[in-house]
């Protein structure tokens, strides 16, 4: 018998300002599941309900209708221990660097663990672990002042602040938005490590298709408050017709491969990871001497 998914969303709906002239339907009949240890990407346009959806994962929003079951616990029940839930599901908001309020890095990361009432020794170990996972040197950085950090470093501190809660599930809302390419790449690497080595279940919202292609095991596409499409990145990005219908961008690699195939070259259009795509392009280049000469 397969284990139960760690996140199960069934027919979830949510309406803001219900019963007022400003009523706004954010979610209608969304379904989604996440298996333990998976890395799931949620993509979709602004206003498609992504943020509302992920806020249901840790009880910031309670299901209005439909079901949200996290690690076997049904959140539509009246009595839910929000504190343990939020410890289990670490939710990292957009621009999390804004939420830093302590003067010293170590204190800010330790805020959550202290709130859990853990002893100092345990808190220190967790902070050390979290800082090292995100790539901050514990001894060097823990007593530094938060305001002197760069944007990318601040985001690492904020991520460490959530990791120090030792969540089973990590939910990230546009984790790399506004970061420079180097920090972006670094952060994506950390998320991969957390998923593959620390065995965290990861759910992330993104607008960047390269990121999705690189990280996700499966992808959900949201539109108008519901999940319209799901599958592996390969399935999603190679379904040209559906991509166009839902106006979803594709990774640059996929675009290049499709253009080559349109021009009559024989390439595998589902080779969307940078490495595979490069190989495909090399094959084309090797097969057409003129082209390679032309390129030179």
């Amino acid at each position: 018998m397969p284990a139960r998914p760690i996140i199960e969303i069934e027919n979830l709906s949510h309406t803001y300002m219900k019963g007022t002239p400003m009523e706004h339907v954010a979610l209608k009949g969304t379904n989604l599941y996440v298996e333990e240890g998976e890395c799931i990407a949620i993509i979709g346009h602004t206003g498609s309900g992504k943020s509302t959806l992920i806020q249901h994962f840790n009880g910031l929003m309670r299901p209005e209708s439909g079901k949200v079951i996290i690690d076997g616990e049904d959140l539509s029940q009246k009595k839910v221990n929000l504190k343990t839930l939020r410890q289990k599901v670490g939710l990292v908001f957009q621009n999390p660097e804004d939420q830093i309020f302590e003067k010293i890095i170590g204190d800010d990361i330790a805020y959550g663990p202290f709130k859990l009432g853990l002893p100092l020794k345990e808190v220190r170990e967790r902070v050390k672990w979290a800082m090292e996972v995100v790539g901050l040197d514990f001894e060097e950085m823990k007593d530094r002042q938060t305001f002197a950090l760069s944007g990318g470093q601040k985001r690492k501190v904020a991520l460490a602040g959530i990791l120090a809660l030792k969540p089973k599930i990590l939910v990230l809302d546009e984790p790399t938005a506004g970061l420079d390419p180097k920090s972006r790449k670094e952060l994506l690497g950390k998320i991969k490590v957390l998923n593959k080595e620390e065995k965290l279940t990861v759910v992330f919202v993104s607008h960047n298709m390269e990121e999705v292609a690189m990280l996700a095991d499966r992808v959900y596409v949201m539109a108008d408050g519901t999940d319209v499409l799901s599958g592996t990145p390969k399935e999603i990005f190679t379904d040209k017709e559906k991509l166009q219908r839902h106006q979803i961008g594709t990774p640059e690699t996929v675009k290049i491969l499709y253009r080559l195939s349109d021009l009559g070259y024989k390439v595998k259009t589902d080779a969307f990871s940078i490495h595979e795509a490069a190989e495909e392009i090399m094959k084309v280049l090797a097969g057409t001497k003129e082209v390679s000469n032309y390129v030179k």
Binding site: L60, R86, G90, D98, F101, L116
Partner: protein, 280 residues
């Protein structure tokens, strides 16, 4: 429960209700000026008859604005317990100060006279009058109209180097940023709750601890506000904004005959409330 963090959607600042009534179409400057004068006059009147006049006037204006009465009542309803508590307190403790008139009760420190009863009733009625008047003003005037009127009404003060334009710009910036900050705050409360913040768990008497529990929200709020300010300063300076410069306005109001008529009527009512010796 799901509304625990919904701040931004529940803020009703500049809650304009367009009904296209006569009141809505008045020159906003006339509206604002008449409002200020009438509120001051009502605040200073202490007679029964004067406040009856004020009450009728404010209800009439509300009716004339064609705004659903529920909007006005929503201002009064939550205040009813406070009105009652205030009335009781005034009745029990203010008697000594208002010992004039007929004495009804004189028991220990409690002294209830016709004057102290007047105080109780007048305070309650005055409150209702001002609620309705300010509802008429804020529900029938958009925030843009409001800031333009403030600027226009204060403009004579430019002669004495009062920074009229600057004041109105400040007002605009304030109103503009309330919803922005509300959204930021909502996000912040959710983010902090996600990492285990909970507010109000310290012992009730531990003032310092209780205050510090609010830091995760309050400090980022001010930080966000002040860093937004830095961005805005830079943007304004790089577009060569100079305080005190001469400038023209995009929207120009022109008061017509009916506007002046309303102003005169408003002023007459105010003079009446302020100076007429009401018999009771």
């Amino acid at each position: 429960m799901s509304n625990e963090f919904e701040i931004s959607r529940n803020i009703t600042i500049g809650q304009y209700v367009p009904t296209g009534s006569f009141i809505h179409r008045l020159d906003p400057r006339i509206k604002l000026l008449s409002f200020v004068v009438l509120v001051l006059a009502i605040a200073l009147n202490t007679s029964y008859l004067g406040n009856a006049v004020g009450l009728v006037l404010s209800l009439f204006l509300f009716w004339a604005s064609k705004i659903p009465i529920s909007y006005g009542l929503s201002g009064v309803k939550p205040a009813i317990p406070f009105i009652i508590i205030l009335a009781l307190l005034q009745l029990l403790f203010q008697g000594q100060l208002f010992s004039g008139g007929t004495v009804y009760v004189d028991y220990g420190f409690i002294l209830i006279t016709s004057e102290s009863i007047r105080l109780v009733i007048v305070s309650a009625v005055r409150f209702i009058e001002i609620i309705f008047l300010s509802s008429v003003l804020t529900l029938s005037t958009s925030t843009t109209e409001m800031t333009h009127s403030i600027q226009s009404l204060l403009s004579p003060l430019k002669k004495i180097h009062f920074p009229v334009h600057e004041i109105s710009l400040i007002t605009t910036i304030s109103i503009r940023f309330v919803p922005t900050f509300a959204i930021e705050m909502e996000k912040m409360m959710k983010a902090q709750a996600s990492r285990g913040a909970d507010f109000g768990t310290g012992g009730w008497w531990r003032i310092i601890q209780r205050t510090k529990e609010m830091f995760p929200i309050i400090i980022p709020l001010f930080n966000i506000a002040l860093s937004r300010a830095e961005d805005l300063i830079l943007a304004m300076e790089s577009r060569c904004y100079t305080p005190g410069g001469d400038r023209t306005s995009y929207s120009v109001y022109k008061a017509a005959g009916k506007d002046y008529l309303i102003l005169v009527v408003g002023l007459l009512f105010a003079v009446l409330l302020l100076f007429y010796p009401f018999p009771f």
